[in-house]
């Protein structure tokens, strides 16, 4: 196993090295060193939002060095492992004062695997729903959990779909989407909604299931992340053409394929993680900083979908929500 891992580590190391070269180092007026480890890659909307919020707050408090594990595009466990090893090497060589990790892979492959109750303080963000599976909290770990405003989303879906109780969840066939599906199902159950989950591996199947979902009262749109042949433009057009029912989502990047969105705000995660890192740099222990969940979200509407579906939304909702054409 170890032998097999070496080539992957090499590849991951080169990838991380190249990634590091592409990230400008941010000089800090403070003496601290902050290592930011992103589970994904630059250009991924969620990750970019988290980084934006993080840098907005953290810049000026420490020297920031960033590592993108790129596990969204490299889904194999070996890659993730090798990426985690590379991160570990970086931590050991650079000796940061605090390490900020975003999203589940970094929490799982780096923190959980190598730094449980270690001396190096960690701040996580973007970990979906719960940290129980990673064994958090550790004495050296704090952070913010990513929760979606599912109840609010489902409540509004029921309201704007005329009191319907039957819904379809459509997403990629990934671990994350499975966890999301569970959360949505749990919330739906509280609200008396009959939810059927459809997790697909390909765009074709996604199209097929999308057309089939038009028979439900409304659709809960999960993330496409993990569908390898996803063509955003084509599928966005497809979705508009075939939209007949209200489609709600908690992912901002899925708004081209949805009617209404209740989306988490990645900047909130980045900002909280940065504020926590600052407190740690000031001397506070991660244990003194409770793990919290995000509390803010954005409202979105897709005008094309609204037109296709004929859904009527209240005037205040239309005015308040952000728009996607």
């Amino acid at each position: 196993m170890i032998v097999k891992l070496k080539p992957m580590i090499l590849v991951a190391s080169v990838s991380l090295f190249l990634s590091c070269l592409s990230i400008p180092l941010t000089a800090s007026s403070g003496a601290g060193k902050c290592l930011y480890v992103s589970s994904y890659h630059r250009g991924y909307a969620w990750s970019d939002g988290v980084e934006q919020g993080l840098r907005k707050v953290l810049t000026g408090h420490c020297e920031i060095r960033q590592i993108d594990m790129d596990t969204k595009r490299n889904k194999s466990a070996e890659f993730k492992q090798s990426a985690a090893v590379a991160v570990k090497r970086e931590i050991e060589s650079w000796q940061p004062d605090v390490v900020i990790v975003s999203d589940d892979n970094a929490a799982k492959y780096v923190v959980q695997q190598y730094y449980r109750d270690a001396a190096t303080p960690f701040v996580f963000s973007g970990v979906n729903w719960t940290v129980k599976e990673y064994g958090f909290p550790y004495s050296n770990v704090t952070g913010i959990i990513e929760v979606a405003p599912l109840e609010a989303m489902l409540t509004h879906a029921i309201k704007y779909s005329g009191g319907a109780r039957k819904a379809i969840y459509l997403g990629a066939d990934t671990l994350t989407e499975k966890k999301n599906l569970e959360r949505v199902a749990e919330a739906s159950k509280k609200l008396g909604i009959e939810l059927e989950g459809m997790l697909v591996p390909t765009a074709g199947e996604w199209k097929s299931q999308y057309r089939a979902a038009q028979d439900a009262d409304f659709i809960v749109m999960g993330s496409y992340s993990g569908i390898s042949d996803w063509d955003e433009t084509e599928l966005a057009v497809f979705a508009v053409e075939h939209a007949r029912k209200l489609t709600v989502t908690s992912h901002e990047w899925m708004m081209p394929f949805s009617t209404v969105g209740f989306t988490k705000i990645p900047q909130e995660h980045g900002e909280w993680a940065a504020q926590s890192a600052i407190e740690i740099l000031k001397g506070k222990s991660p244990r003194e900083i409770p793990i919290v969940a995000n509390r803010d979200w954005d409202l979105w509407i897709n005008a094309s979908h609204l037109e296709s579906t004929g859904v009527k939304l209240p005037r205040k909702f239309l005015r308040k929500a952000k728009k996607v054409n």
């Binding site: 940290v131 129980k132 959990i145 504020q275 926590s276 506070k284 409770p290 919290v292 509390r295």
Partner: protein, 909 residues
């Protein structure tokens, strides 16, 4: 004066101290008053500001509670936006919390709900000191909503506020009263100096009025945490600085919060609505003028006064110094201006130089004298412009300044030196002076040269020198200079054994030229003769006018033959002259001897028949005789002094019985010698004339003649119709005092002027015509009469004869003596007689020595005759018993002219 100055300074110091102290006291008093007033304003404003802020917090609390009551459920969508709004708007609000009121039974479910909502670590924690509950609580008041929720504040989630006694009391009081409660924030909230405004919330839309019912209805409590420091920031008032104001918040139970421990000496209280909250304002105000303030003011005033006095005195000193300096500069400027004006106005050229004798200044006179402007001369060396030379030899003076400084320092002014300033081709005679210029330390900084143009003075000096050595008429050197030259020649002869010759020239009959042709003609003759003499001598010889008609020649390097030839050349000139020649050689005597010898030689030449050259030799008999005669001068003076002279009278006979006076007696001068002989006047009269003794002789004659005339008239009973004649020389006639002298003698001796007749020669009368006429007229006015003596021998002009106021005309005996043998003489006598008759003059013929001549004269009509044929002169002393002057007595003389004794000599023979 110094005492007054010291008193002045002391008075100034004391007055300054008093003044500064008063000013300080007034300033501090005014400042204190103003500060007190400002404090009043600021304290009121601060109280009002705090009350307003608390009112804002209270209003926010009421709004939040009201909103909660309306929605009947607290969630993030309700709490978060409202809280964020308040936190953004009011900086004195630190945070807002919602405390959920739960029972022991509800605790676990509540915790799970919180976990579900994302607070996975949520737990209920005690807010009591030590984070523990004193006893098992039945109720909890736990933080379930918190804004701002940050990593630093997130650990407040789940805190049980009821575990804190203060909060617990406030909670029950708030529910009981259904009102807000303001308490100090319990410790454990992460920040000190906070107030907490609490107000409970209730389930249901309406709140029970019954306190007991409200306890059952309580759902939680809102808490607004206020930052005490931000709450009590005093508002900025207009003008002046902010005073330090402290605050204390009191409840009915006492102080619950204060910013500072104060002595409460100045307390202002206000109530916040009806919540029994009293805000007490305490300030740090202290009046400036405490017990020690006055002492400090005096000390400060003293120091200020000293500084002030020192400053003022220093400024005054500087002012006086500056004023004196300005005055000195002004005075210096004026003096310099005056000096420059003086330099410009003086007539001397003033030139100043630096130590290298480069010109630095010239006054206008110097610019004009050097014909060079100061601008052009500036910086040039003095010697380039001032070129001085000794005259007449032309020796240059290389450095004028050094020359004059040396001359000044040696106190030597060389008279007679002529220094000229050369300016191109022109030159000026200058006199100069130079002096070094020294600075105040005595260091040499230059020199000053003063030059005066003495050209005019030099010219006058030259003229004086020339005039002193030259004859003004002829331009020849005069006697003094001639004698100097002779002396030089004499010395040279002695030194070099060389011969020179001295010629003494006396013009023959030059007196006659003056008498007949006038002095103008005589002067012209002398000038021409001088010119001729200069042309006749050699270049190295010298001709001089020694006086009157006398000239001198100094012939260098010539022997006797050459000198004689030279003298002969002079002699052959038309003008006749007698020349005495004396050789100058090593054997010659003194200058005086040489001049005397030349004079004697000339005299000898004149005696030898005039127009002769006589060479002086020491053994020359003739010269010796002349030398002896020259000794007449002291003898004449001695004779006058000792009254050795005597008078003689010779009668003049009337040739007609009708003539009046009937008898004329002419006084004649005689000089008896010890051997009984008489010296002829012809011997000593020339000497008397030569040495200007004729006035003395005439004066003696007049005095003695008038005295004799008086005695002759009275003692010898001379005929009443008689007249005495007295001869006057030319020198006497020209004497203005003679007339008065004669008048005085006439009065003295009581002589009738009509009995006195004065004889003057025609030469004398004509040579001194106007003076003679005035003299004659004056005496004739008294009655005296005048006769013109020796008429005819002097080639007299009948024109003059016509104009002279005369009474008698005496015909020269030369014509009378030979008139019988010479028809010309006879014609002359007859002509003179005819003219005299026409002029109504009586005629007297002299030198009648025989009867035939007498007869002829009678026949001719001549009025009187005189001569040995008629009578000889007789000494008055022999006629009168005693002479007038000598006191000798003379025998009386009675009878006609023919009876008169004959005299051997006469004065005017």
């Amino acid at each position: 004066m110094k005492i007054l100055e010291a008193d002045y300074r002391l008075l100034f110091l004391i007055s300054g101290m008093v003044m500064v102290t008063l000013v300080c006291w007034l300033a501090f008093s005014l400042q204190s008053h103003q500060q007190r007033a400002r404090y009043e304003v600021q304290a009121d404003a601060a109280l009002q500001s705090i009350a307003q802020r608390l009112a804002v917090a209270q209003a926010s609390m009421d709004a939040m509670v009201g909103l909660y009551q309306a929605s009947d459920e607290m969630d993030a969508a309700l709490f978060t936006p409202f809280s964020e709004e308040l936190l953004q708007d009011y900086n004195f609000i630190d945070s807002m919390q919602y405390l959920t009121y739960i029972t022991r039974d509800e605790k676990q479910e509540f915790i799970e709900e919180m976990h579900e909502s994302g607070f996975s670590q949520f737990a209920i924690k005690s807010l009591a000191p030590g984070n523990s509950w004193p006893a098992d609580p039945g109720y909890y008041l736990a933080t379930s909503f918190l804004e701002p929720l940050t990593p630093s504040s997130a650990n407040q989630m789940g805190l049980d506020w009821l575990a804190n006694d203060t909060v617990e009391r406030a909670f029950y009081r708030a529910v009981s009263e259904n009102a807000s409660q303001l308490i100090t924030a319990p410790p454990g909230l992460g920040k000190s100096r906070q107030l907490v405004l609490l107000k409970p919330s209730y389930f249901g839309r309406s709140i029970e009025a019954n306190p007991v019912a409200r306890y059952e209805q309580v759902s939680g409590m809102f808490a607004i945490l206020l930052d005490w420091d931000q709450l009590t920031i005093s508002p900025q008032t207009d003008g002046g600085s902010q005073l330090p104001i402290e605050f204390s918040l009191l409840t009915e139970d006492g102080e619950i919060f204060a910013t500072h421990d104060q002595d409460w000496s100045d307390v202002r209280k206000t109530e916040i609505e009806a919540r029994n909250l009293v805000l007490t304002v305490v300030t740090h105000y202290h009046p400036f003028l405490t017990r020690n303030a006055y002492l400090w003011i005096v000390v400060a005033g003293l120091l200020c006064a000293i500084v002030y006095s020192i400053t003022v005195l220093e400024l005054r000193s500087r002012y006086l110094l500056k004023r004196d300096k300005n005055r000195a500069q002004s005075q210096l400027y004026k003096e310099r201006e005056r000096a420059e004006v003086a330099l410009r106005s003086i007539n001397d050229a003033v030139i100043t130089t630096d130590v290298d004798h480069n010109i630095k200044y010239m006054n206008p006179v110097a610019e004009k004298m050097l014909d060079c402007s100061l601008e052009d001369a500036f910086g040039r060396h003095l010697a380039d412009l001032v070129k001085l030379e000794f005259q007449p030899f032309g020796d240059a003076i290389p450095d004028p300044v050094d020359f004059y400084i040396d001359m000044t320092q040696s106190n030597l002014r060389q008279t007679g030196i002529n220094i000229v300033l050369k300016i191109g081709t022109d030159q000026l005679s200058v006199d100069g002076n130079a002096s070094p210029l020294l600075d105040s330390q005595g260091q040499l900084i230059g020199s000053m040269l003063v030059l005066r143009d003495v050209s005019l003075e030099q010219e006058l000096t030259n003229q004086l020198v020339y005039q002193a050595s030259h004859d003004s008429l002829t331009g020849l050197i005069n006697r003094a200079e001639f004698e100097n030259r002779v002396k030089e020649a004499l010395e040279l002869s002695r030194q070099n054994d060389r011969q020179n010759a001295l010629c003494y020239i006396d013009l023959d009959q030059f007196k006659l030229v003056n008498d007949t042709c006038g002095h103008g003609a005589g002067d012209e003759l002398l000038k021409r003769l001088a010119g001729v003499l200069q042309t006749m001598i050699r270049e190295e010889d010298l001709v001089a006018r020694l006086g009157g008609d006398e000239f001198g020649l100094l012939l260098h390097d010539c022997d006797e033959d050459q000198a004689r030839k030279m003298a002969e050349r002079v002699k052959i000139f038309d003008v006749s002259g007698s020349i005495g020649l004396v050789m100058i050689n090593r054997m010659s005597g003194s200058l005086s001897d040489l001049m005397s010898a030349a004079d004697l030689a000339c005299y000898a030449a004149k005696d030898s028949g005039r127009n002769m050259v006589h060479v002086y030799r020491a053994d020359d008999v003739e010269i010796a005789e002349k030398y002896r005669q020259m000794q007449w001068l002291p003898r004449i003076k001695e004779a006058l002094k000792t009254n050795e002279f005597e008078l003689a009278v010779q009668s003049v006979a009337s040739l007609s019985d009708n003539n009046s006076p009937r008898v004329i007696y002419e006084f004649l001068l005689r000089w008896p010698q010890d051997d009984g002989s008489l010296i002829s006047p012809a011997l000593f009269i020339p000497s008397a004339e030569r040495y200007d003794l004729m006035r003395d002789l005439d004066g003696w004659v007049i005095e003695n003649a008038l005295a004799a005339a008086a005695r002759l008239n009275t003692e010898l009973q001379y005929p009443s119709d008689q007249m005495f004649t007295i001869n006057l020389s030319g020198q006497s006639v020209c004497d203005p005092a003679l007339a008065d002298f004669i008048i005085g003698m006439l009065r003295r001796f009581e002589v009738d002027p009509q009995n006195i007749c004065f004889e003057v020669t025609e030469t004398v009368a004509i040579a001194n015509f106007s003076i003679a006429i005035e003299f004659i007229n004056r005496l004739r006015g008294l009655g005296c009469r005048f006769a013109l003596d020796d008429f005819g021998s002097g080639l007299s002009s009948f024109g003059y004869l016509k104009r002279l106021p005369l009474d008698f005309l005496k015909i020269d005996g030369l014509f009378v003596r030979d008139m019988l043998d010479d028809p010309v003489d006879l014609a002359m006598v007859r002509t003179i007689y005819d003219v005299a008759k026409v002029l109504k003059l009586q005629t007297i013929a002299e030198w009648v020595e025989d009867q035939e001549t007498l007869d002829t004269l009678k026949s001719m009509g001549i009025d009187y005759a005189q001569g040995f044929h008629l009578s000889k002169p007789a000494l008055v002393s022999e006629l009168l018993p005693f002479s007038v002057a000598s006191g000798k007595s003379y025998p009386p003389v009675i009878g006609s002219c023919t009876d008169l004794p004959a005299l051997s000599t006469a004065t005017n023979d």
